[in-house]
Point group: C2
Chain length 326, copies 2
């Protein structure tokens, strides 16, 4: 039994998942390219393996076609935009994921990015490292209207963290359902257009699907106020990167914080915009959450190989999203 | 009646304080050097003025000696380390300040700096702007032991903001009094040495006094764990900058965030340390807090000149700190 671990780093801070594989008698290979694989690279690698313990690299129908032994995909994380669920279903490949584990890390990071952007921390830090001193004005969370698009596990976490900041107004929207957000008098459900127009801070916590691809593009960025800040710790492709660059470049928006990109590693033009705070897909990269994700995904793969009941099988509604283009 | 405004920027986002001076018939001059003044520069400037609406530049006995008309110092902010209160008392110069106004901005910024440091946001951002992609591991507030030295207005604000993060353990210390911090089961009063040894995050919210000058130096930095992070949004001089540089340079500490410096503008060796997050004394620089500070300090100066009751006179215990070297 052989497992291909494509996501990197893996087992770096905590060897428990690797030890578990060894203990279960599973041979494993960790992605030898050390970076996010493209579909052809993965297709060249996959032939021998029973299981992929997967990151966010594209697991397309073509990839699966090359994996003649492939019986299971165990995603380290929550997003399923990278996995062709229809193809997996057709081919009888089981798909599991770890939807709860990354949320605490992403939600905390989002608050830090908000404050950094509101106060131009990243701009001041870049300049200070070039020995340029300038005291930037900023704004506060407490006096800002906050817009949260996506109120699942991560959006809820953001709202919880904001509870200690005396926020006056949090606008919320979700694609599908009005999640139960408790009895919080500062929350207002509204449509996305209202959020684009009225929020000082907009943070995205939706999955990448046919419906959210390119969800925030030129026409939406133009609705935002000139000082608004935009945060994407969800998935690359939800914001149109070229449109965002054009807008920032011509002076619109107070700033943006982008952790996820259409192509990773990212080396595009946003790298030249000082008030664009950039991080390398690090949302889930707290030691505790990353370790939990790796352990959960590995244990699930081992359960599958041992024919034990699974705990993280992707539910039908995730298939419906891809089947029906929701 | 003439007022010298030394702190810059001033009236930049909101002209209300300048309009108030004009309306009250007060002539004013805004610091023409556009940067924090040194004592001799201020001494050369001060001769004509009745009032200084002051930043953090040194208002020494020598400066006051040159201000033959000087009757009042109205500090825009809270710290009084820059004002020789003994000399002011001797010369019959009234000193007022705005101790409440900066706190909300400093407390919010502190949370943002914590998360940035815990997640290496500033390091990733520096690298991404050089098109270098690396996914850094980080830690979370929720799983960290937090140490807060100084539990006055700002330290209390930090504790309030942390209430939404599900912290397990917050160690607190104050120089003088055990402030009433409510009934919060995660708070533990302890001595500073315990904080240095046990906290993963240490943030300073004490004034600069004879007692806190050089309070955190080599021997204290050595007590901290190798991954600990240290934040100073209080005053330059509380942490020994050379010792901090030496420690960071030899790989000790996870990182540091320094907003305040012994000499400002700062251009010292910390500028070369990537994991030292640097900002340009921006703690109080949110538009709302800065405006409130400027309005309060200006209104106080006008009340003084009109011989109306003052609202922000520096209390006796601040004099005692300087008189008794507390």
């Amino acid at each position: 039994m052989k497992a291909l671990i494509t996501t990197v780093p893996f087992g770096d801070r905590n060897r428990q998942p690797l030890d578990a594989l060894k203990h279960a008698g599973v041979e494993y290979l960790i992605n030898p390219l050390g970076k996010k694989l493209k579909a052809p690279e993965l297709a060249d690698m996959v032939s021998d393996f029973d299981v992929i313990i997967a990151g966010t690299e594209p697991i397309t129908d073509e990839v699966m076609a090359k994996g003649s032994n492939l019986k299971m995909i165990s995603r380290v994380g929550i997003g399923l935009d990278s996995v062709d669920l229809m193809a997996a279903e057709r081919r009888g490949i089981t798909v599991s994921y770890t939807p709860d584990a990354p949320a605490p890390a992403v939600a905390e990071l989002t608050i830090g990015l908000m404050i950094s952007l509101l106060r131009s921390v990243q701009v001041s830090n870049l300049h200070m490292h070039h020995r340029r001193w300038h005291r930037y004005f900023g704004r506060r969370i407490a006096t800002s209207t906050i817009g949260i698009i996506g109120t699942g596990r991560i959006g809820k976490g953001v709202i919880r963290h904001l509870s200690g900041f005396n926020c006056q107004r949090i606008l919320v929207n979700d694609l599908h359902t009005k999640h139960d957000l408790g009895n919080n008098p500062v929350l207002e459900w509204c449509d996305k257009e209202t959020i684009y127009k009225q929020a000082d801070i907009i943070t995205l916590h939706v999955p990448l699907t046919a419906k959210t691809k390119n969800m925030v593009r030129r026409e939406h960025l133009e609705l935002m106020s000139s000082h608004a800040i935009l945060i994407n710790t969800a998935r690359g492709g939800i914001i149109n990167e070229q449109d965002l660059f054009d807008m920032l470049n011509r002076g619109h928006l107070g700033g943006a914080s982008i952790d996820v990109f259409q192509d990773e590693p990212y080396t595009g033009p946003l790298c030249d915009v000082d008030r664009c705070l950039l991080t390398a897909h690090m949302g889930s990269m707290s030691e505790d959450c990353r370790t939990r994700m790796e352990i959960e995904a590995t244990d699930e793969a081992i359960r599958f190989l041992k024919n034990e009941p699974l705990q993280g099988v992707v539910p039908e509604d995730e298939y419906a999203v891809q089947r029906e283009g929701l």
